[in-house]
């Protein structure tokens, strides 16, 4: 069973976002970049599939030179090989999906794994787009997965519950928290990963479909009214929720 795991490099969650000089992208100065948290579940699941069925795990990312760092993390966790599609901008999910689909066509994996979303652009778009481009089924928000013969059965989160979905292989899976407990890479493996070769794949020639016009920080003004816990003050809070905020 050959697995392709697609991962992305994102700003650390605690990053304070500032608008860059172009007025439409983040100022990267001083920003710490990390492996997208959901992608850890995808890498771990890929490794578990290989442990169960044999085969290989290839990790792929789309990004700039610095994104090789997260590929080294995946290699240290146990990925057999790693590749990068050089695309510094990464702004258009269709181009990203097309680039990944091109690599997938040349590799013909049995399963492509993603994290459920990349926490930078939060579009939830690339896994479904890749599946559509390849003509494959996909299952998103997967919190439990089993593979048997030529089909997968997965549990996915939906509003108000879960649903169980089965699909034929090859298939695209987007991992949700709870799917597994990602392993930590061991120090010797981290050292070994540093010298591994990372292959480069061309960016798709697909044309951009969405343009970013501008970026701004949200207006986060809050009333910030602070009260104590006395009966009188709680009465006032309830009155304000009722009469001022008109919410109860």
């Amino acid at each position: 069973m050959n697995v392709l795991v697609c991962i992305s490099q994102v700003p650390d969650t605690t990053t304070k976002i500032a608008v860059g000089p172009d007025g439409k992208s983040m100022n990267p100065h001083g920003v710490k970049f990390i492996l997208n948290p959901y992608d850890e579940f995808a890498i771990e699941e890929g490794l578990r599939i290989r442990e169960k069925f044999g085969g290989t795990v290839t990790t792929l990312t789309v990004g700039g030179e610095s994104a090789k760092e997260i590929l080294r993390t995946a290699l240290a966790m146990g990925s057999d090989s790693a590749g990068i599609i050089k695309d510094e901008e990464r702004l258009d999910s269709y181009i990203v999906a097309s680039s990944i689909a091109d690599v997938a066509r040349s590799m013909s994996p049995d399963v492509i794994l993603f994290g459920r979303q990349s926490i930078d652009f939060d579009s939830f778009a690339v896994p479904s787009m890749v599946a559509e481009l390849l003509g494959w089924p996909n299952i998103s928000m997967v919190s439990s997965l089993s593979i048997e013969d030529h089909s997968v059965t997965a549990e996915r989160d939906i509003e108000g519950g879960k649903e169980t979905v089965s699909a034929t292989l090859p298939c695209v899976i987007a991992a949700q928290k709870g799917l597994n407990d990602p392993r930590y890479p061991k120090l010797p493996d981290i050292m070994k990963a540093k010298s591994k070769v990372i292959s480069e794949h061309p960016k798709s020639s697909a044309v951009r479909r969405v343009d970013v016009l501008d970026m701004k920080l949200p207006d986060t003004k809050r009333l910030n009214r602070i009260f104590g816990e006395s009966d009188k003050e709680l009465d006032e809070v309830v009155r304000l929720l009722h009469e001022e905020a008109k919410i109860i």
Binding site: A97, S128, M129, A131, I139, V207, L213, I226, F227, D231
Partner: protein
Amino acid sequence: MNILVYLEASSNGLKRSSSEALTAARSLADGSGITGIMFNGTPEAFSAAGEYGLQRCLNINDNFIEHFSNSLAAVAISEAAHANGANVVIMSATATGKDIAPRIAVRLQAGLLADCIELIPTGETVEAVRPIYAGKALIRVKPDTAVVVATLRPNVFTARKTERTSVAVETFSFASDKDVRTSVVIRTSQNEGTMDVAEADVIVSGGRGLKGPENFHLIEELARSLGAAVGASRAVVDAGWRPHREQVGQTGKTVAPSMYVACGISGAVQHLAGMSTSKVIVAINKDKEAPIFKVADYGIVGDVFEVLPKLTSKISAVTGRH
């Protein structure tokens, strides 16, 4: 502008998120040129759509809804958009919407505007504002394509009823591909009787300040008095006190209710990422320095064990819910 709106039926009509999408479509197109599309629509759902001004709805009667396949749904909606000359396809960013919209965008060679919080009509097409970096920034996006697919973040667009219209329902058949049809089969197991945080209008969330799962009845009681759903912080979900489906924040759900009440939650960045776009935020915490107070409209500095029972009875007195 010719708009196709994908509508999801609920047990007694239309999902609220779909009513929101219909209202958003109406404000774009001035009420004309809007077609709805449903899978196995019910009379209740069509009637509910009429309350939001829909005049024409395509219905796909196919038993595949029992074995719903996202790829097949995308084929159906794409064909309907094509057959009707729709240049704007709108749906809510629900679990299904998020799953099928990217497929439809690929099929229609359309730009995808995902998880929008504002739609701006620009002549024959639309631009949108959408949050990125967990809501820490907003971008305005414009399609470079003739056709656009937009998903709307639930609870952000207000669902407004209008003069009831009668809905002309037309059966829509499409050329399905049997291979696609058989590839995905679904069994649903809803959590009976619980309201989902992603759909709730009011959420009461509890964190580590509750000290243990046995104290969450305080959260549930306040939630009942408000008709709210129960949410939880990552800390208490990781500790096994509450199920993951209730988790609000980065590795849980992103919510934007009319009111969010955070109880015993300090307000880690990861939690704020999931709830900071709520319309009104109330925080209860004994530490007056807790970061949650920085995003709160109404903050109560106090012990949750003291405050929650009192607040619940005072709110019950107003709402009549117990």
